[in-house]
Structure formats: structure tokens, C-alpha cells
Symmetry: D2
Subunit: 348 residues, 4 copies
């Protein structure tokens, strides 16, 4: 069988480069288009020295239509608004699109425009787009043309909370997501705020009560709850390259034993290739999932306060972006979901 | 006036060394006893090269009675159980004790023994001991002989939540403290878990639902609420040397505007020399308080969920340990509270 | 063909765990013995959470003879002295040994004993042992039974300097190796010196003029020079997990152009799968080789001082330890040298 | 006595902010002008949150003449070229100038223009300017109007090598300076290269054979040697906020014992308030001088190769910039040199 021809628009961003890294080791795909707005004309390995001798290709631009014409699948790892602006019926007719921005994640265009503060350029594709959280939408993804790849915080928060909410163990009005992220989540743009000396030896919250991932988490958990959910989400920036750790809180609706809680999660995720429910007494650590597509989970009952404390960890650039995008590609092309994604994380 | 003679037991731990650093720049105190169990007989500056030419004294042991005989105040920066075991009426009769361990923080000895898993060796002093959270106990501290210096997480969590709880703005049954700490909080013991390569590039929760600082936070907030409070507390370890950031959640009992909330905090803390309520839109960052005795605060109303998000940052070794200990010393000896503690944090 | 059966003694050290990680993705090998002195009886993935679901095997002890009986190759990633003490003719008769310690690296037992300060327990195997620096000893390795896998600093320093010395471009009496290493090079032992807070935000030299890797570097470069070489080597510890960067200095014996210098290196290393001579103007960075078996190199003529500045970077746990060990295994078993080692480094 | 009125141009850069921090604790100086090109009109503490409640002043522009008119001393912590362009006879007639850029460091304008690649706008002031390396130029500094404050690498390299060169112990043609710096040395400009994720977990050389600090080091050591010196200087960037560690190499001209070498350094620096020659067997570590004006030194004879290995560590923003600038101010205004600079470094 011929290999899947893949185009990456935005390959010089952190998520784009990570797609390139993963596809480089993928047995069934090859990259035919390295697209970059800022560095077109230069060699990819001159921007990312790690790729020297692996991918010395000259970077092309970010013409989506052109990339789509030459590829079986196009990954758009681009800023908010790009994919919505460039999308056309023709493009969707000739290739699969996996968009890593938020452009097609929210079904309600008004919610998108309120939280992102930009006008959506192609709301006509919102209904068709499938939210690419593989563990929840596997079947819909297989037949899709346009995948809205989930955000990093959202993947972590949703997968960590979903089973408890779905099983009705917790009151949906009490959900709180407190999360921390490594700095690569902020992208590769040259901003003072992300300089080493501004971020190192520092921890800070940001986007308090207004972070854009909030409605995306709420949308998925509303599905789980069967009714509208509103929650509080607080992200923090901490001094490490990669990783998201989410600590989630929810008040129990009834007495639940630790065993019963575990069972709910095991039933939901027992067969999932990328989710590891940790043994009792062990908690997720970002280093144990770094560079992999894994999500590590632990679920705890706080009997004193009748609350659940649910913790999850993933690599924001892999399961939170590029890895999940490739997982989506595998689903789209009927490959085993793990293809090209079976990495043992490296420690230290 | 003669200078205050200070003894430090446990001076080669991180908190102990930090007391030495602060007292070195304190105009009204001098260190007369550098006590260390592990390094007695060696020069202090051979253990802490930063002190070379500032404090080359030979380290003495940790004989509390002997240190007490030669000092006006003794700081015990020692493991749980040491101060309780070594304390006597005679010692308390001849010197002031500022204990940085948890030994005298909890009034109820059964709570101490349950959470710490050790038998308390001198419960007879528990009632006399004053909890040295200066902003709340200032008057009691002035006349005390035995100060129980608060924990690092607890100082941050209590000061961040106190005014809202005290003012009845929030339901005391909904309090959640989610906090992260730099690694110095784990001490200088040679443990694999705290090696650079185990901690760097990693974030993890620990002590989930069972961390020992929980009852201490609850005790203080119970005072604020006027009734017993139970809360959920989750600490996390993140890769930086110093700093604690606490993000606290609480459900409102009634509609409160951002302005009204601010007013409660300004009224409570407006005259405090070490608390900075940040301007609207700015959030605490640990780097902005590092090496100082400051606590930075921000208070936010999440209207969508009727919750407060209260964030505080401090340096765990200063306001969370050594700085507060010196603040307590200043109170004990009728000095202006800021004496020796007016440092501008260094950034970066 | 049956897979190569591999045993790892010392699998819970950083180098040992890295062998496990690499072999986990190796198509022609399987691990049959996870050996650990400290953690025998526990599950490997309880020590290294990254291996959960990949290698949950119960750890065995470090009985070399027993491991040798069950394996085609044994990796000893153990402290100095272990392999020398445990080695026997029988063991060498039944399996291949790749020793990652220094025990068999130096041909002259008196040099070993002087620099390491321990008596060598089996000098009778020194002559048979082959120094496993694959790029220099490829042919000898293929037929060997006992491989002395080189040290991390030494691999970097030797490969960086070798071609210039061999070509007679530089005066062998002027060689200086100034190198820095990430903290994983110090191992996983619970030592205060390697605690996060002792190492983070710090740079320091150590082992100045007396580091044990010196004679190993000298031995290889003496071969290159065709006469005895003595050099100055200064290692430094810097706050990162992995990576070695060596900056080497040597005075030219004659005028050499940048082009001529490059040519010497290209001729020597042009066909090497794991050495990348960087384009002019680009210098090695440890991040671009992290987690890979690559060595990045740049060679510069300092015309003003008639010196060469030769810079090399590798991952101390891969090309500097586990990766090279697997490269040696591939040579021993007639596999293509790159098998299981073709990783694109991940950035960031 | 009235306090010294100080102006800082470029106060929002890292070195400028560090001057503000030090002067904030200086008993004899007050800041009357906070100058910033990029942030004029905003509050200083809105840019540097650490200064909140300490320095909330509104930032002024960078009009040197205006600042000079209102201040006894002006610190220009500005990019190359600014001070040379703005300097006039009138300005020098009414205030003292301490310039932290390289504009007035090199006496030979052609050397400046060759290494910096810009035309010098006011070469007429070069002869008058005094090179402000206090330990070497103390007397000249006292009477000066225009101080060229040395670079960070240069201060470290010069002070580390000077006594050995001056004493004729080493061959001046064999000097090599290999140094590493924390990231704050690269400034606060928004450059991709200095983003956290580009710098963290990475070590790299840069400016190999062409770094601009080379002629400055050579000029001072030429004075020490009594003849022209050319040397090789290689800087490296490593992942920490602050600190420079220089490891210097030089070949002995004759047999020198460790004691004799020490004596040379003790004689030269024994009375210096900011230089600590470490006890034998201990080596400089950047953490032990962080946030202080100290330089830690160790000198070692490598008998095997007849070389000296001389190591020095300082804080690039303090002794390498702002601290030395204040030390210069103290000299200019006849204050004890240590005034405002007697800080114990904080560890960790």
C-alpha cells in the first residue's frame, strides 16, 4: 500500500514540528509538504537542528489549497482563524483536514466568537467538523473529512473528568479544573513573557475565569452530564518544557467507595491503548508521559469532604496536540490507532 | 541597646540557613549559636559556601538547653518531634522559642498524633504556644514565650482565604486549596525523590487528601468562620527552588461584586507591611516575592459559576518559614515588624 | 530469526533504564532479565512509572552468572568494580558482555588502580576486552566477547578531537577538553550534592585536573597521535537532565584553512550514521541530540591565535552510555548498526 | 549629607532593574529618574512586579541630557551605541556617567568598530573614559567623570587571570577562556532564541572565536603582561537565570607550586572586599555568589600538563554589571566601596 501523503502547515511551530517528528517514525505515512509562513525558503533542519539528516527539506509556504492538492491529509497547526479563513468545499472534497487550532471545535459560533474575540470566517463547516477526542468520538472520526483536534488542557481535563460525570457520581455544578502547563503550550512566538528569565523559577496563574479552553471543556462534559455544565478552570504556567497536569475537583452526589470509583474508570478506559489508570497510591507525573501519547490518571475519594480529586497528566505537544492528531489520522485511514505512537517515555 | 542573641538549631537545613541569612542583615540581632546535628564541628561556610566570609563559625550541636542558656531567642528549624521532645519549663523560663516544626501548631494533641503519626512528647505546652501567623495573632505573639511558626502552605492558604471566610462571603463547606511548591519545601535530606533528575521537567501532586498541613489550615479558617471547617487541600511539586502559589476556590453565599470583594481584602490587609493586594488584572507570580517576606494576593469573582478564585504567592523559605520566624522575633522583642525584612525581590 | 535475549544488570540506574527504553523499541532484541540490587522483588514500572504497561516485570537481582546463563548478551550498568569482580571465563564463554563501567576500559591496570583508587579484581581479562567506541573500533568489536563501553565525556571528547590529532594538524601537547554535563551523569544515588536545590540555578567545575575520564581520553588520543598524549580535562555540572557539550582546544602545527579542516572531518566521519558535522556557522546544542545516539560536531579555526576550537555534543545517557551499548550489541550480532537507534530528537 | 541623586536610563532591562534593586537598599543614594524607551509612561512596578510598593514611579524616557541635569550620577544601561551617540561635553560637565554598554571600554576606536560593527559616535571621549574594573583601576575611577563599566564575561575572565599573568607565571600566548553564562546576559529583548523552550534543557557555545568581549579581555591582560596578548575566548549559554563561570587555562613558564600560586593571588586580592579566594579543594559555584557583588576564585596547578586551571564565578547582573556600577558610584562619591553591596547570597 502506498504511504499516506501528509502535509503540515505551520511545521515550524512546536506542535507542527512535533507532528513532523512523529510522522518521521510512522511506518505508513510520509510528509510531502513542510509549510511555514515565517521561514518559507529555508531548510527545515536549519530551524530545527534536531531534524538535520532526517528532514532537510526546504520549507514551503502555507497555501492550504495547494497543500491539499498534493496530500491525503493536511495538518493545520496554525493560529486561531487561519483554518477557518482558508477552508473551502473544494479542499474538503479532495483531502482530509486535521486542524489543531480552535476554529472548528465549538459547534456554537457565537460561543467561539465571544471567547476568541474574532469573527468566524466559515461557520458553514462547523456542523460537519468532528471533535477529534479519539477516546470519545472514535466512530464519528473514522468517516469525517474535517477533524477539530482538541486543545491540550481540554484533552486532559475532559478525559480526567468524563467517566465520573457520565456515571452521575458527581454534581455537575461543582466541577473545578486546576491545571498547570509547561511553557511549550505558549508557542514559539517571540514574546517577552515567554523568555527563559521571565518564566524560569516562577509559577503563575493566567486567564483566571476567562481562559478560552473553558467552553470546550464545558461542551464535552455537558454531553457527559446530559445537561449544560459550567465550571471553573484555572491554568498555571510552570517552568518546564512540556506537560500538563490537571487536578480536578467535584462533589459527590452520594457515597462512593474508592473501589466503585475505580471501577467506573476501568470500565470506561480499560481497553484504551493510551490511557493508564495508575495503581492505587500512585499519582500522575508529567515526566512519565513526556514525548508519548499517553494520559496517566488517578482517582481519589476525599471522604472527609465528600469530594473527588481526579488527577491526569499528558504531554501537551503529543496527546495534547500532535500525537492526538496522528491518532486521528490513524482512525481516518483505518490504521491501528497506536501506529507510530508506541513510544516509551524517556526518564529522566 | 545590646543586640538580640539568637541561636539557630538546624541551621544547615534550608529554613535554618535562611534564618541565618536574614539575621546576618538584621541590625538588631546577632547569631550566637549555629546548631547542626549532621555537620557539628565543621565550618558553616564549608556547608553553605554563600556564607564564606560572612559566617565561618564552627557548627555546634543541637543541644536545645545549652543553646537556650546562651541566647535570647532560639529558632528550632528541626524535624517534627525534636522541639516537643527537647522542650522543658526551664528552657521556656530563660529564653524565647520560635519553633519552625509542626510540634506546637495544633491545639488538639489527638489531631497532631493522627496526622503526623507520632506521639507528642510534651502536650503540656500546647495551650501556651501561640500560633505565629503574625497578621492574625500579632497581639498574642508579643507576650508569648513559645511560638509555633506556621507551615509554608498554610501561611499562604490561610492568608489568601481568611478575609473572605471571615466576612461570610463564602460557604465554608466549599473551600478547596490547590497549591504548588518549589522543591526547597522538601528539605535538604538526601532522598532519591528530590534529586534534580527526578524533579526537573516534572509536575506532580502528592499527599492528595492526606497532607499534614490540612488540619492547620482548617484550624485557622475555622476561627475565621466561627465554626468547624473541613476542606480539600492538594499540594503539587514543581521544578523550581522556591515559591508557593496557592489557588483557592470557594462558592459565594450571595452575589458579590469584584469591588466589594476587593474592599473586604483591603480593609483586612491594607495596613499590612508584607501583604500586597495586586491591582486588578494582575496575578501573583512567585518570582515577584522570591527571597522576600511578601505575600502577593489577587481576588477574583467567577460570575459564571458563583465562585471566588483567590490566589496567593509567597516564598516558602521566607514568609513560609524563616522570614515569618524573624517577623515573630521582631514582635517578641518590640521591634518594628519589618526590621531586617525589607528586601526588594530580585528578578530575574 | 529468534530475537537476541538481553539481560540488564543495574536496570534501575539511569543508564540501565535507558538501555531498557531503547531495547523496548528494538526490533531484534528482547529483555529477559531486569536486574537491580536495590529494588529486586519490585516491579520495574513501580520504580520507573514511564514503563508502566511496557515493562511491568518483577526485578531480579544482579547475579551476573545467572543472567549470563539465560541471555545472549548481558549489559552491566553497574558501579566501578562490579563487573571486574563478577567476571569469569565461564561467563565469557557463554554470553557477550557489554560493560558500561570503567572496569575494562584501560589496558594498563596500574593506571586504572591509580585513577579509580580500587584494586582491579580481574586484570586477566583486560587484554581481551575491546574498547567499544564503535566509530573507531568497529572491526574489533564484531568479534569480541567483552566490550568496555566508553564513558560519556570520553566518547564526546575523543570523537571531537580524534580526526585533527590523527591528521597531525595539532600539537598533541596542547590539547584541552572543557566540558559540561547534565545531572543524569551523576547517577541516581541519593546524594545531597545532586538534589534539585543544590544543582538548579548553578554551574560548577568538579574533578579539576583529576577526573577519572582523563586517562581514557588520553589513551584513545595517544593512538591517534601515535605517541603518548597528556591533556587537561575540566568537567562542569550544569542544571539540565541530559547532555554533554565538549569544547576542545588545540594549537595548530601549521596554517590550516577552515576548508581543509572540514575536509579532514568529513573524510573521517562522512559515512558515519550517528555523527553530524554541522554546516559552517552552526554549533552543537545538546537539545538537538537529546534522546538520540547522535554526536553533533563543529570545527573552527581561530586564526588570531592559531588554535582549533572543536565542539561536540551528545546525550550522555545514549551515545554516552546506553545507545552506544546497543550500537555495540548490533555490531556483535551482525545487525545494521542503526537498528533500534534511529530516533529524531524531540525539541523542545 | 544629602543623598546622591541617581538616574537610570534603561531601567527596564535586566541590568537597569538590578541597579534599581541595589540602589533601593543603598543608604546614601536615591533614584530620581527611571528611564525606559519602551515603557515610558507606565509604572515601573507594572513592568517589574517585584518592585510593587517599593518603586511605583512612572517611567520617564531616555533623554540623557535631561536626566543628567537632574542627577548627580547617570547610569546608562542601554544598547551599544546609545551612550556614544548621546554624550556631550555639557553632560559630562554636570554629572557623572557610568555607562554599562561597551561604548567607552576600548581605547582604540578601530578595535571597537571592527568588533561591534558600528561607527563610534563620540570617539573624542574615549581617552577620558576610565575602565571601571574597580579592583584594577580604583584610583583612576575616583577622579573620573565617565566610567566605562566592564562587561560580565570580561570582569570574570580578567580578574581570574590577571594575577597569574601579571606575575609572569604563565606564557601570555597560551591563554584560553572558556566560560558559561546564565540567560539574563542575553537581555530582555523578545527574541525566539531566548524563549524558555529554546534555552531550557540545552547547552550551546556561541560567538566562537568572534565574541565581542574578546578585545576587552585582551586589553586588560595586555596591561598585566606588559605586551600585547591574544587569547581564545569561548562563551556558552546554559539554562539558568544568572551567573558566569569562567574556566581559564594557561601554560606555566616555570615550575610553580600550588602554594606559590596561591600566594600570588592572596597578595593581589587579600584585601579586596568582593573577592573570595576559596580554600584549597573547593571550586567556585555560581549559586554561592548569586545576587551579590562577589567573585569566587580557585587556582589550580595541573602538574601533569604544566598548566594552570583558574576558575572564577560571579553574578553577571551584579559584579558583572549593576553591582560593579554601584561599586564605581561609591568610588566616585568617596563612599566605602561596599556601601549597599554587602549581601549574603541566598541558597537555594
Amino acid at each position: 500500500m502506498a504511504k499516506i501523503k501528509a502535509a503540515i502547515i505551520g511545521v515550524t511551530g512546536y506542535a507542527g514540528a512535533e507532528i513532523a517528528r512523529i510522522l518521521n517514525g510512522h511506518p505508513e505515512a510520509e510528509i510531502v509538504w513542510y509549510g511555514s509562513k515565517s521561514f518559507a525558503g529555508q531548510s527545515f533542519s536549519d530551524i530545527y537542528g534536531n531534524f538535520r539528516a532526517f528532514a532537510d527539506e526546504i520549507l514551503q509556504g502555507e497555501a492550504l489549497a495547494e497543500a491539499a492538492a498534493s496530500a491525503d491529509v493536511v495538518f493545520t497547526a496554525t493560529p486561531q482563524g487561519f483554518a477557518a479563513s482558508a477552508m473551502t468545499k473544494d479542499i474538503l472534497g479532495q483531502t482530509k483536514i486535521i486542524d489543531l487550532s480552535a476554529d472548528f471545535r465549538l459547534k456554537d459560533v457565537s460561543v467561539y466568537e465571544r471567547w476568541y474575540g474574532i469573527t468566524h470566517a466559515s461557520p458553514q463547516f462547523l456542523q460537519e467538523a468532528v471533535y477529534g477526542l479519539c477516546e470519545l468520538k472514535r466512530e464519528e472520526i473514522r468517516g469525517a473529512r474535517l477533524i477539530a483536534n482538541p486543545g491540550c488542557y481540554t484533552t486532559c481535563a475532559i478525559l480526567t473528568l468524563y467517566p465520573a460525570v457520565e456515571a452521575g457520581l458527581v454534581d455537575p455544578d461543582t466541577l473545578i479544573v486546576d491545571a498547570m502547563s509547561g511553557v511549550s503550550g505558549a508557542g514559539r512566538g517571540a514574546k517577552t513573557d515567554n523568555l527563559f528569565c521571565e518564566v524560569n523559577e516562577n509559577a503563575k496563574p493566567y486567564g483566571v475565569t476567562v481562559h478560552r479552553h473553558t467552553p470546550e471543556i464545558e461542551a464535552a462534559l455537558s454531553e457527559a452530564a446530559g445537561r449544560e455544565v459550567r465550571l471553573t478552570f484555572t491554568p498555571h504556567l510552570i517552568p518546564m518544557n512540556r506537560g500538563i497536569l490537571a487536578t480536578c475537583y467535584a462533589t459527590l452526589t452520594k457515597d462512593v467507595s474508592a473501589e466503585a470509583l475505580r471501577e467506573v474508570y476501568e470500565k470506561r478506559y480499560g481497553a484504551e491503548p493510551f490511557i493508564r489508570l495508575l495503581p492505587e497510591g500512585r499519582y500522575p507525573e508529567t515526566r512519565f508521559v513526556e514525548h508519548s501519547n499517553l494520559l496517566d490518571l488517578q482517582v481519589t475519594v476525599d471522604k472527609r469532604t465528600r469530594r473527588l480529586v481526579l488527577t491526569g497528566a499528558l504531554d501537551n505537544l503529543v496527546k495534547g496536540a500532535a500525537g492526538q492528531a496522528v491518532q486521528n489520522m490513524n482512525l481516518l485511514f483505518d490504521l491501528p490507532e497506536e501506529t507510530g505512537l508506541q513510544t516509551v517515555p524517556a526518564v529522566p
